[in-house]
């Protein structure tokens, strides 16, 4: 077996140019394959990280997103009184009734516009979400036209940086602080005081209520209680689940498109590998005859060529994965169609992605190398030796 591997490995180098072209083709395909998976994984990861296992989100029934959810403030008080919700040291419930609206703003360095989510939050917002921290500037003062901006909004949109004035709802709002939230979706939002934003937008309602639970296990009981409460028409979801669902439309789009492109690309690469392997077999007819005469079985010959093809594909796959790993430094910002809001995220790799990329490469190698390998193993010893 060692001998076989060495033979195959050396053969990859025997025809440098064609092998290189084939390897490069496979690398390109694997690169695209990885990029697509990393993109949808990054989007999903960003949204899932936005959620917290200890939190529950309450929105109006069947609204699916905060943007289309409207709950009256009385309903909010009913929700906040639920016994499953943890309490602050002063005895008030750790729940934040919030307003979410979209404003259309121009991106930095272009005239393109996109929707920025603006969240009107209560004083409990940060207590409920421990991952949110102000990294520059300060919190707004209650009762003033001040807001804080997520780090990604501040970078991506005009007039959203620290000290700048962003205009919406007929008022100018000064950005007094920049916050980060472990790279999660909150960094793509602008936060302001609910008591200022709700009247400014003329929306005296809650879009959602995010509540910290006494324990993650308390969720089921709370869900049953609130969803069956005749005074309310709400959906109660775990925060993680809620944000996960908000990635479905866009990730489905990226995945379908990406898979179609990868499959089509892979067929191109398989054909490339086939051409190379057929040439490799044709060029070594005499050699194969010799090997067979020395007593190597047909199966060994078949394996040798198959291994050669797979090795080539794996080298290509490794190059593709390596190249794609650099994509992690790129930040993507696009509209999440589930929420209609701009979301900044990055390509995120994972062991599964690397694994499936290499498997994908190996499959291309097997499929591309199989027919040529069969041809090689079928050569008759005499005829093969007689070729000049």
């Amino acid at each position: 077996m060692r001998l076989l591997m060495a033979y195959s490995w050396r053969n990859v180098f025997a025809r440098r140019l064609t092998s290189l072209l084939t390897i490069f083709g496979i690398a390109l395909v694997v690169f695209v394959f990885c990029a697509v998976l990393m993109l949808s994984n990054g989007l999903r990861q960003t949204l899932v990280d936005t959620g917290n296992d200890n939190n529950a989100v309450v929105i109006r029934r069947s609204a699916q997103t905060e943007i289309s959810s409207i709950m009256y403030r009385n309903d909010g008080n009913v929700v906040k009184a639920d016994p499953a919700i943890a309490t602050a040291p002063d005895g008030s419930p750790l729940a934040s009734g919030e307003l979410m609206v979209l404003i259309t703003k121009t991106k930095r360095g272009s005239d393109k516009t996109s929707n920025v989510p603006v969240r009107g939050v209560s004083d409990k917002a940060i207590a409920v979400r421990p991952n949110v921290a102000i990294v520059e500037g300060r919190m707004w003062r209650p009762g003033s036209s001040e807001v804080i901006a997520g780090a990604k909004v501040a970078r991506g949109f005009q007039n959203a940086g620290l000290g700048e004035k962003v205009r919406f709802a007929s008022r100018d709002w000064t950005v007094v602080g920049i916050f980060e939230a472990d790279g999660s979706g909150f960094e793509s939002e602008i936060w302001g005081d609910y008591d200022q934003l709700a009247p400014a937008f003329e929306r005296p309602i809650y879009s959602s209520i995010t509540a910290r639970l006494k324990s993650p296990e308390a969720f089921a009981a709370m869900k049953a209680r609130l969803e069956n409460d005749p005074r309310l028409t709400v959906d109660v979801k775990r925060e993680k689940q809620y944000y996960y669902e908000q990635s479905s439309f866009t990730t489905t789009y990226i995945n379908i498109l990406g898979m179609v492109i990868s499959i089509i690309f892979s067929m191109g690469a398989i054909v490339g590998a086939m051409i190379t392997m057929y040439a490799s077999v044709a060029g070594r007819t005499k050699e194969i005859g010799t090997l067979r005469a020395l007593g190597f079985s047909r199966l060994t010959i078949l394996s040798a060529f198959l291994v050669e093809s797979v090795l080539m594909a794996l080298v290509g796959g490794a190059i593709g994965v390596f190249g794609a790993s650099f994509l992690r430094f790129a930040e993507i910002s696009t509209t999440n169609w589930d929420t209609f809001a701009e979301l900044a995220f990055s390509f995120e790799t994972s062991p599964q992605i690397i694994g499936s990329a290499l498997v994908f490469a190996a499959v291309m190698g097997v499929v591309g190398g199989f027919l040529p390998a069969v041809q090689a193993s079928r050569l008759s010893v005499l005829a093969a030796l007689r070729t000049k």
């Binding site: 064609t18 390109l28 979209l102 404003i103 996109s114 498109l257 054909v271 490339g272 190379t276």
Partner: protein, 385 residues
């Protein structure tokens, strides 16, 4: 003329390899056209826009509504011919995966302003008579197997509750790029229920469609409309229908950009496949070229032979790819139908694909030609394969 015969004979010498090369190129060329078509699909809405229509929306963002009373005030602006309105409904049909666009429209004016939606006269009459009637696009009807008379229930996301409609008409597009996957129903049906269940939301619409007499004055007219509502509670933003539709493309800018990059990478794959074959071919025939040179064939004969063969394969591969575009394009159309209202291959894309294939054909021949020319005759003759 005989050189052409030689080119074709050469092309057929390694039948399997030539076939595989053509296949590989065909797949890659097809990938190029399908990806380009997908990119075009993003812009389809902007392409289909009419220059004499403006869209007025709430200045803050599309998720805010405007009072219906603005229609009369817009209509009074000089140069405005007609005003209609449409509101995004965002309902769910059975499962959120069955996404399609739904609009509550002013049934009296909307279809007049959008002549590209062709509705048979009797179905339009019914739409005017039946308050819960809906007119749906041909493609949408085909997707769910709907026909006229079917009851449809949508679960509201923006407007709570279950909403029942009856399909009273199916429209077709007047042009290739008309969106045939929308669901239109009457705004008064929506408003009637809101008045009962959520009175503070009644009387509002999502966007106004404004028809103007002179498309040349669209910028000026947009400003005139917005000026009318400046400093009111509901400030407006008016733009041409094209700009309005393009704003959706710009939201997905990164994805469109990614697709564009990938479409160029495909050209790289075509290059690799053909380049690989030509490199092999040239290496195998070095001694042959030496014989030909000895026999008195000139340099341009050799150059012509290699370039000719490369171009023949490239042309066949390109043609195969262009032919493959239709079946594969249809598959993609079915898979991604929910995401794109229209999915049609632009003839220009096919031309681009053809040109790309031929350019690749030329490029792939350069290296083997150089090798053939730079090998001295004696050296070439010495090679015994």
């Amino acid at each position: 003329m005989r050189i052409f015969k030689l080119i074709f004979k050469n092309t057929g010498r390694h039948k399997l390899r030539t076939f595989l090369t053509i296949l590989g190129m065909g797949i890659a060329v097809m990938a190029f056209t399908v990806i380009r078509t997908t990119i075009d699909a993003w812009y389809a809405g902007a392409e289909a826009a009419s220059p004499d229509r403006l869209v007025t929306r709430h200045a803050v963002s599309l998720t805010f509504f405007l009072p219906l009373s603005y229609a009369d005030r817009i209509a009074r602006v000089e140069g405005v011919e007609q005003v209609s309105h449409a509101s995004w409904f965002g309902g769910v049909y059975v499962d959120p995966k069955n996404f399609f666009a739904q609009f509550a429209i002013d049934h009296k004016s909307y279809l007049d302003m959008y002549p590209e939606f062709l509705v048979p006269e009797d179905q339009r009459q019914r739409f005017n008579q039946e308050r819960n009637g809906a007119i749906v696009g041909r493609r949408l009807a085909d997707r769910f197997g709907w026909s006229v008379g079917d009851p449809i229930r949508l679960a509201g996301t923006i407007f709570p509750g279950d909403w029942d409609f009856v399909i009273v008409g199916i429209y077709t597009g007047a042009k290739e790029n008309t969106d045939e996957s929308a669901f239109f129903f009457r705004w008064d049906y929506l408003d009637e229920r809101l008045r009962r269940e959520a009175p503070i939301r009644s009387g509002y619409v999502g966007t106004f469609a404004v028809q103007i007499s002179d498309p040349e004055r669209s910028a000026e007219m947009s400003q005139a409309i917005d000026r009318e509502f400046r400093n009111s509670t509901y400030e407006t933003k008016t733009e041409t229908e094209e700009a309005f539709n393009l704003s959706f493309v710009s939201m997905a800018n990164s994805i469109v950009l990614g697709l564009k990059l990938i479409s160029f990478m495909v050209v790289g794959i075509i290059m690799l496949v053909l380049g690989n074959t030509m490199a092999m071919t040239a290496r195998e025939r070095i001694s042959e070229y030496a014989v030909m040179k000895t026999l008195g064939f000139r340099t341009y004969h050799i150059v012509g032979l290699i370039f000719g063969e490369s171009l023949v394969i490239a042309a066949l591969g390109g043609a195969a790819g262009i032919l493959l575009t239709w079946p594969i394009g249809n598959l993609v159309k079915t898979a991604l139908g929910a995401f794109f209202p229209t999915f049609a291959t632009n003839p220009l894309t096919l031309v681009m694909a053809g040109v790309a294939a031929m350019v690749v054909g030329l490029l792939a021949a350069i290296f083997p030609t150089l090798k053939a020319l730079n090998t001295p005759i004696v050296e070439g003759l010495r090679i015994v394969d």
